[in-house]
Point group: C2
Chain length 222, copies 2
Amino acid sequence: MMQSIIATIDVVLLTIQDDRLCVVLSKRDKEPYANLDALPGGYIHAEEDRDSLDAAVRILQQKTSLIPPYLEQLRTFAGASRDPRGWSISVVYFALVNNDLIISSQQPGLTICPVDELRRLPFDHNEIIETAVDRIRNKSQYSSLPCYLAGETFTLPRLQKIYEACLGEGLNKVSFRRKMDELGVLEEIPGQTESGGAHRPAQVYGLKSEFKNQLKLLERGL
Amino acid sequence: MMQSIIATIDVVLLTIQDDRLCVVLSKRDKEPYANLDALPGGYIHAEEDRDSLDAAVRILQQKTSLIPPYLEQLRTFAGASRDPRGWSISVVYFALVNNDLIISSQQPGLTICPVDELRRLPFDHNEIIETAVDRIRNKSQYSSLPCYLAGETFTLPRLQKIYEACLGEGLNKVSFRRKMDELGVLEEIPGQTESGGAHRPAQVYGLKSEFKNQLKLLERGL
DNA sequence: TAAATTAGTTACAAATTGCAACTAACAAAA
DNA sequence: TTTTGTTAGTTGCAATTTGTAACTAATTTA
């Protein structure tokens, strides 16, 4: 006879805070590991969810009240020993959202923690987050992915900081701007500038509408 | 009450035949779709498999008698309508193997079909194979991945054909050789050459042993 | 009005890539 | 034995891309 397998979804929701890549954790309200911070997750509801993406959107909405501008499947973590309840499958999604949206959601129980300062988390959630960080590192190298962390409008110096946080390394200003130009996903917001102090203000940009739901890739990375 | 969810594994086993990228299909011995060609797959056995990779190895072994030199998770396909039996999760793996190993396995029920000549397959297997082809296209651009399709030993012109089949486009000979040199995963087999006709014979190479289980990545793609 | 600071550009050197033409090595035909 | 045809492999150089330093621009504050 076939022993039943637990089917769940977890979401690695990443954001930028203080120029650092952070993950959003949610305090668990049920056993196992009740009251501990962990990745937002939950059971797949076969009656309610048409597919796993549906389930991820529903669960993320319930746990964080957010609908992130970017959501893709990361990988599935499955096995006998990752969950004390038994053999489990977790289809893990990977989401990006601007920090301000998390703050303004006012959702209780959320913690925002830099990915390089995480303590031991329940289940295999540390390994899952590592996988997500690897993925964003890799994809940021040759795509517009980090733009989804930047919010509606942003300056190029700000976007560069975000790319640097994603990649975990500093970038050359000229090269970065050349690549953003080559990507062609940004549009200048005419007349709008932002000055963070006693110096020349920076031009404000936004994502072109055709790229709000469409990643753009570079031939050669940055 | 929670309706039960079917947990399965499918494997996209890719190979090169006549310089073309092909997928290995297996004739289904059970319903649904009995006797039709489909991706080799099967149920996860919670008692027997420690994790999903274990399950993939077991299922691939059972269906093809092969242990491929490369096996990684592709993506999970899950939803209410992909399998007539009900809400199902398929954790899909992606494997590469040299064609000669398939032929010599003598396993009955296997078909080798070029990925661009597939007819309509059961379940969402066409979509799954497309995803696998996208993955190999992408990864071949900046890694030693296609080497796993080449067998124990091979010449550079042969390896170039394999890369071209994976990428779906021709490559410049000089650039290709420069990149292989930069990758540094190959070792010359001294004195061994192979001549496919009335012309200069080609040097034979193999994978350095430290890269037989370790993908090598390029900074900039080829 | 000058100083400080960050935004953004320019010019050029260095590295990488793509291409064409070359040499090398073999078998088969003459 | 020489010539021819064919593929293997290399070389040199032009074209493109990338990295760097130094520049100009625009702002606030002293």
